[in-house]
Symmetry: C2
Subunit: 305 residues, 2 copies
């Protein structure tokens, strides 16, 4: 229903829905997959679907039997790389959060996301593979080009700017450009490039996963969505572990609790849970705050009106 129509005949386009569904189990971030980990749940948008999101939920449940909780749109693209068949595909990707349940369906399953992005796990400091595989490979790719060297250094925090955990997509794209991932090698190999550790996925699914991880890492900083991943009751230690799993970084325990308590995000249940050390209080998320706090979130120097 374009307001003004193009001259050409309306063309045959299909629309695909793709899901990045995340859970954190036993302190590991996991993603829901099909085809034994080689692809994300996906399917085409059909007229029977009431909305894009409804269509997505239906595909995920059909393919994996995993119910979805929170869902938000990620990005839409029309990758011409995919135009093998001449038929154009529009892909609408979504990020979903869930609690890991028993999956069913052909080759559906959950896989740790660091399996696809081993360089993204900095919970125990920068992973060895960055210095051992990535840095040298990028150095070969950059050669004497200062722009490339600088980009590699900044993106992977190779010098002293530090690691920015949100640049998941930029890092993947850099590795793609440098020819260090199989997805690139499949269609256009870069000579001399050695594939990195880190499992590939079909088509551009790994790129979409990177987009989802990046979005989630950014989002947890201004919105406590991680409660969607927690069970009904939990300890602050488990909560911290979940956030660390997503962020791929270790957090300062005392300050983390201060943050959670200052915002009154949780309430006590009165119960305790044994841990490896001192027993921990079991708490529960206070969903009410959503409406309570008129989250104003300023960063502009507003006048007092």
């Amino acid at each position: 229903m374009a307001v003004e129509r193009g001259s050409s005949v309306a063309e045959s386009l299909s629309t695909e829905l793709i899901a990045v569904v995340v859970a954190v189990t036993a302190g590991e971030p996991r993603v829901l997959t099909i085809r034994n980990g080689a692809a994300l749940p996906s399917g085409s948008f059909e007229s029977g679907h009431r909305s894009l999101q409804a269509g997505l939920r239906s595909w995920v449940e059909r393919q994996t039997h995993q119910p979805l909780g929170y869902v938000e749109q990620l990005y839409t693209f029309a990758d011409s790389d995919r135009a093998d068949s001449g038929r154009r595909v529009i892909s609408v990707s979504y990020l979903g959060l869930a609690r890991e349940g028993p999956v069913a369906g052909a080759d559906a399953g959950w896989h740790g996301w660091y399996r696809y992005f081993p360089w993204e796990d900095h919970r125990g400091g920068a992973p060895d593979m960055i210095g051992r595989e990535i840095a040298p490979a990028l150095a070969r790719w950059a050669g004497h080009d200062p722009a490339r060297r600088s980009r590699a250094a900044i993106t992977f925090g190779l010098q002293d700017q530090g690691w920015n955990e949100e640049w998941v997509l930029q890092r993947y794209e850099l590795l793609y450009e440098a020819g260090l991932v199989p997805e690139r090698a499949r269609r256009d190999p870069v000579q001399g490039a050695v594939m990195l550790a880190g499992e590939a996925m079909a088509l551009d699914h790994r790129r979409i996963l990177a987009t989802g991880i990046a979005r989630l890492r950014a989002k947890i900083k201004y919105r406590p969505v991680f409660f969607e991943l927690m069970p009904e009751v939990f300890t602050l230690g488990q909560l911290q572990q979940t956030v660390e799993a997503l962020a791929g970084r270790g957090l300062h325990t005392q300050n983390f609790r201060r943050l959670i308590e200052a915002q009154r995000l949780v309430e006590d249940t009165g119960q305790m849970q044994t841990t490896g050390g001192r027993p921990a209080r079991l708490v529960r998320y206070r969903g009410e705050i959503q409406s309570e706090r008129a989250i104003v979130g300023t960063k502009l120097p507003l006048a007092r009106s």
Copy 2:
């Protein structure tokens, strides 16, 4: 190219591209329109387009002759409300920033965005119309329902939580639900509802505009995109006026300059410009910082690794 195909025959879908193009001229935020302000530039995605974004740029230039600078994707939806014709349409919307130039093309033009959302302009305090038209109309709609009353109060800052300028879409949707805008009345009038001031647009274009404004208001808080709207050289006063136009709120002048200077976002040109009062330094945006600052932006209590 879904990994697993649905059972039904691939259906006929068309994809539409819609642009919210914003400029700020003489301290007023403006949006690029066609059809004499009744619609946003839009057209269908065609095989000749290299990418969605390329298609969008092409449509905007064809319809308005306005060149685009910064562009980012907003949202994608498949509104079943639009399925009048039985043919489903996927709409991909974009936000673009530009410097207002001479437009050409049928009924293309720039219009102040507060013409469509008069309740969003709080630069001189809350507009009268909120107390005079909106609050009473919402009160009638809410009746004795506490959930509705609370929602209205929070969304429009009717009590003391204050105004949150980012909730542009929520406010529009509330007015839509309450039957106070013509777009709703067109397809499903709410009896007894009196239309509010604020011009309507075709289809759901006003909703898309609201989405764009909301995105922009949120974005300027963590990324200085407003420089895209400024001329080559400008004064800090003009910059502030531009940001105020977007945010719809007045800013504390001294603190605003402190913010800009602390981040070293601008550099001096050595020139001055006369104003109504003391002459102002003319400055220029330091585009370099983009790469300089490894914008880390933490809000999580990271451990020192």
